[in-house]
């Protein structure tokens, strides 16, 4: 019974959102605002139960691990973002958080740059590696802006533009597929879960 009711509620709001395809209307707006409210309302007690209770309340109040008062107090300073007079206090936990960015830099450099560069520096064995080689070189040249894109240089960077266009095309094709998938998912829900037309 509960599942049937929840499915019909979900179906109603799905149709409310779909109604925007005709034109903007109060049903769409109602569904949109309700979604924002429900998401926030759901996240607050969940965070309280899954974060505040196990990581703050239990260790400090029940297990008397007083050293945790320091990070707890630091986190509490975020509350001052709501005060015009005291919001400068909220910058301290932000500054502390920014410190962790320093730790990320070498790791991101390794995985995001060095390993990827190594992957581009492979012997040309087949048509695929040849295309990777040409694509990488010509696109890098395209992004070298200290020389005008004219003459022979302009022709070479044009090849880079073609490679990028193919990349954008692939990306756009995948995006179309993703958007259609979302529609398929909703229609599958309506005809299978709600109406039970397909089992």
């Amino acid at each position: 019974m509960y599942e049937i009711f929840s499915n019909w509620v979900a179906a109603f709001f799905t149709l409310c959102v779909f109604s925007f395809l005709y034109k903007d209307n109060p049903f769409y707006k109602f569904a949109e605002y309700l979604f924002v409210g429900v998401t926030a309302g759901y996240a607050i007690p969940l965070t309280y139960n899954m974060a505040f209770i196990p990581y703050v309340y239990q260790p400090i109040v029940l297990q008397h691990r007083w050293e945790l008062l320091v990070p707890a107090a630091m986190g509490f300073l975020y509350v001052f973002t709501l005060s015009r007079k005291w919001n400068w206090l909220s910058r301290y936990p932000i500054a502390f958080g920014m410190g962790s960015v320093g730790m990320s830099v070498p790791l991101a450099m390794h995985a995001g740059v060095l390993v990827q560069m190594r992957g581009a520096m492979i012997p040309i064995q087949d048509i695929n590696t040849f295309l990777v080689f040409i694509g990488t070189i010509t696109i890098l040249l395209y992004f070298y802006f200290s020389k005008a894109h004219t003459g022979l240089y302009g022709k070479v960077v044009r090849v880079g533009i073609w490679f990028m266009m193919v990349g954008f095309g692939a990306s756009f094709g995948y995006t179309v597929m993703a958007r259609i998938s979302l529609l398929i998912g909703r229609i599958q829900f309506l005809i299978a879960d709600v109406l039970g037309i397909i089992k």
Partner: protein, 335 residues
């Protein structure tokens, strides 16, 4: 020909809502009347399947169910499934999650789940329960804490301590599961300590969140990372796939359909992966005379509609372009 009153001009001025209706019909019909189409599997999907499969415990010939349970419980391999998405991308990611959970259940592979999205916490429960509910005879007896464990929602600010912590001790890093039980006390943690034992993380997301694992966990602990991403993110993920930082990828509904097929062909029949079988054996039936529950074939049925929608969009693009060039030509002649 009057340039303002020809068919191409009319098509270009067509109300977009007619296009929506045509597209909706093209999608709804194949979903209501599904047909059996072929699903081609790709290397990135096969790689994930094969790695998960390699984690399966080996049972001696003639072992009883109790003996198999005991061997599976003591097995020192597990998979982590990170559900890092909310309901908005479920249509692409949920079928992948169902298929991988089903694969793990079929091959008695231990798996863990967790999320850093509050709204994803119920999706984990939904996915596990959907698999159990869809085939209660086979999967109804799978127990939380023994066959799998859901670590639940962890606040995102604790993500790095958790990723690094699991390199030392998963029980310490996760501390409690979604049901509030101490992780170290769960039977599933027998012989599972850190990334050496849980050597595969599959991150399901609608973003580049999978890179967290290759930035922080892979270089330091050597953990294998795979991703299940929405199709939008697939093109951005290929560079890491090419360099082997991701061992595999499931891209959108197509990736989910591929994995559904792999589980049907191999895991559900307890066979080892073989390209020969994929090439030569008849395609699993997804419509008509099949006992396969709908959730286990929904991505493949979805791909039927997807194919028709793509053909329709190609036709629209062609008509639009022909119309554009004809109009341009007529305008040129008029001038």
């Amino acid at each position: 020909m009057d340039k303002n009153n020809n068919i191409f001009q009319k098509i270009q001025q067509l109300d977009r809502r007619y296009i929506y209706i045509i597209l909706a019909v093209a999608i709804i019909l194949p979903l209501i009347f599904p047909y059996n189409s072929k699903t081609y599997t790709t290397k990135p999907a096969e790689n994930i399947y094969r790695m998960i499969d390699s984690f399966a415990p080996v049972f001696p010939e003639g072992a009883t169910e109790e003996e198999k349970d005991a061997i599976a419980m003591a097995h020192d391999k597990a998979v982590m499934l990170a559900f890092w998405h909310d309901a908005s991308t479920m249509s692409e990611l949920f079928p992948m999650e169902l298929s991988i959970i089903r694969h793990c259940f079929e091959r008695r592979i231990k798996f863990f789940t967790f999320t850093i999205f509050a709204t994803s916490a119920p999706i984990i429960d939904m996915a596990i329960n959907e698999v159990k509910k869809s085939d209660p005879e086979k999967y109804g007896n799978k127990k939380s804490g023994e066959d799998y464990v859901n670590f639940g929602y962890k606040v995102s600010s604790l993500l790095l301590p958790i990723i690094f912590g699991m390199g030392e001790d998963i029980s310490d890093a996760m501390d409690i599961d979604a049901e509030g039980r101490k992780v170290s006390s769960l039977p599933i943690m027998t012989n599972i300590k850190n990334y050496n034992d849980m050597n595969l993380v599959i991150d399901f997301s609608a973003s580049s969140a999978g890179t967290y694992w290759i930035y922080y966990a892979r270089p330091r602990f050597g953990v294998n990372v795979a991703v299940g991403v929405t199709a939008v993110m697939a093109a951005d993920t290929y560079p890491q796939l090419q360099t082997g930082q991701f061992i595999g990828m499931l891209a959108g509904m197509k990736g989910a359909a591929e994995y559904e097929k792999l589980v049907d062909v191999f895991a559900s029949t307890q066979r080892e992966f073989s390209s020969e079988i994929l090439r030569n054996e008849a395609e699993p039936i997804i419509s008509g005379d099949t006992n396969l529950p709908y959730p286990f074939r929904q991505a493949r049925i979805g791909m039927n509609a997807q194919s028709i929608a793509h053909i329709l969009i190609i036709v629209f693009i062609l008509i639009g372009n022909v119309g554009f060039f004809v109009q341009k030509h007529l305008q040129k002649n008029d001038n």
